[in-house]
Amino acid sequence: MTCFTGELLSSAVMGGIIDEQKPMMQQPGEIKALSLAEMQAIARKLRRHIVTMIGSVGSGHPGGSLSAVEIVSTLYFRVLRHNPRDPQWPDRDRFILSKGHAAPMLYATLAECGYFPVEELSTLRKLNSRLQGHTDHMLTPGIEMTAGSLGQGLSFSTGVALAGRLDSKPYQVYVLLGDGECDEGQVWEAAMAAAHFKLDNLVAIVDRNGLQIDGWTCDVMGLEPFNSKWSSFGWHVIEADGHDFTRLEEAFSQAKTIKGQPTVIIARTTKGKGVSFMENNADFHGKAPTPEQVEIALKELE
């Protein structure tokens, strides 16, 4: 199996922008930032992977995978310090996917970074694959947490952030939650704790696509006033367009300057983003596109 990702890795390194806020030594193989034009291209590529993977196996969660593409690619190609050649690098920034059903989006991102071959994406959800239906920490390089049962990632991330502080590690902890996931009580237990422990090395991002399986979040279980819920729990709240790379990067930069409290970025997104018939359609939360639909989607994503 050839490793296409080596090529992308080197172009990422060559075309990278040196981030002056990161004075630490670069590790060999550490990913450097992509340019804005490259980001647009990678987002399209990730969406094509997502649709193809889910379509090929005939099950999975396209809607919430597509909505989070810009959020996660901004992190992996512009913000995180990480090293696909050394996934366990102790000083790496952590990205924790709490909404584990968006696994295809994260697998596609990790593969494009070089954590494993892009060809492996076609094994999603198949027997003996490292790419499980929901993320599995034991199997997949680069996956920080086993997830799938919602509501547990913010607690886990709080533990990772506490450990980083205890050891005076420079890493930041980023955790992505779904908005529907915030129905879970454990999210608010963790929100209270992270603020109580003053974890300014922790940034939560909520993929605020407004839809959950049974419909609009406001109809199923109202979350509003959502921003003030977080701020009343002691979090610094930033709102951002979750499909705008520049706004997202500004939000991540601002989050780094906030001291003494954790930050949450409420990223407004469109579920199913990029595929016309999936956009704002709760039916595609957990339903795979047919082969014909895959074809249409891939045309739209050219």
Binding site: M145, G159, E189
Partner: protein, 313 residues
């Protein structure tokens, strides 16, 4: 009978010892640090204890994150809350990823007493044993508790360790060596074997003493590692003595009795009786009276032994 010694205090003080030896040992509690005795650790290592408030699910998740980052977290609360209240957190955040989290709970079983059914964990072992990869240990006294806690800290992987509220008579000597996954022969005998865990080990020894006076010599095993259970010791006991009685302060379903019966059914069927709480919840009351009413006394074990001895003919 020997004077009772607190297993919870043994736990709390061993944590302090471990904390001095290894800076990666951290402790979590959920607003019960004086009951679980993690407060000893808190006094000496205030930066390495995280009181999570009354939020056990969050505590288990935080422990998982700490473990994934190289720490050795001990998370404690009452046995009704872990694994019961946090079953899915223990399952997905700890057991499935095989993280190095030590779940140590106190106030198990009905000897918690007057607090009543809401606080009496009688199904926790069934829940814990159902999870692949989770090691389950139930120490029988304070000496064993110290050994088990030290061993858990030194052994990679998730543990559920179950302690009780009352002090327990010492059944082991100071030179006792705990070996994970190995039952301890507490006394020899050839007519039947009583296999016990936790609070019921001392009771089993009392029963065996009474039975000896009646001419029935029983082997007594302390099966402190409930999972993975010591299959060889169970089969040996069945071969040597031909009859088995299990004794546990837990429901008959899913605990020690079920584990022993599974091994015997497959490898060496012999008559078995189960001294355990039948399919019911208990109630408020003094621990000793509850043990009597719900069938967990030495007399209950003696009756069960006579039954299996008779059945084997």
């Amino acid at each position: 009978m020997a004077p009772s010694v607190s297993v919870r205090e043994a736990y709390g003080k061993t944590l302090v010892e471990l904390g001095r030896q290894n800076p990666d040992v951290v402790v979590l509690d959920a607003d019960l640090s004086r009951s679980t005795m993690t407060h000893f650790f808190a006094s000496e290592f205030p930066k390495r204890i995280f009181d999570c408030g009354i939020a056990e699910q969050n505590m288990v998740g935080i422990a998982a994150g700490l473990a994934a980052s190289g720490k050795i977290p001990f998370a404690s609360t009452f046995s009704v809350f872990i694994p019961g209240r946090c079953f899915d957190q223990v399952r997905m955040s700890v057991a499935q990823p095989q993280l190095n989290v030590k779940l140590v709970t106190t106030h198990s079983g009905i000897t918690v007493g007057e607090d009543g059914t809401s606080h009496q964990a009688i199904e926790d072992l069934a829940l814990a044993c159902a999870l692949p990869g989770l090691t389950v240990v139930v120490p029988a006294d304070a000496i064993e508790t110290v050994r088990v806690i030290r061993m858990a800290a030194a052994t990679e992987g998730p543990f559920y360790i179950r302690l009780c509220r009352p002090g327990l008579p010492l059944v082991h000597n100071e030179d006792y060596r705990f070996e994970l996954g190995k039952a301890t022969v507490m006394r020899e005998g050839n007519r039947a074997t009583i296999i016990a865990i936790g609070t019921m080990v001392a009771t089993a020894l009392e029963a065996a003493g009474n039975l000896q006076q009646a001419g029935i010599d029983c082997r007594v095993l302390n099966m402190s590692t409930l999972k993975p259970v010591d299959e060889a010791a169970i089969v040996r006991a069945a071969r040597d003595t031909g009859a088995i009685v299990t004794a546990e302060e837990h429901l008959e379903h899913g605990g020690l009795g079920s584990a022993v019966a599974r091994v015997l059914a497959r490898q060496h069927p012999v008559p078995v009786e189960f001294v355990a709480i039948k399919d019911t919840y208990a109630e408020s009351g003094p621990p000793a009276e509850l043990l009597r009413k719900y069938g967990l006394t030495a007399a209950d074990i003696e009756r069960a032994v006579r039954t299996v001895v008779e059945r084997k003919g």
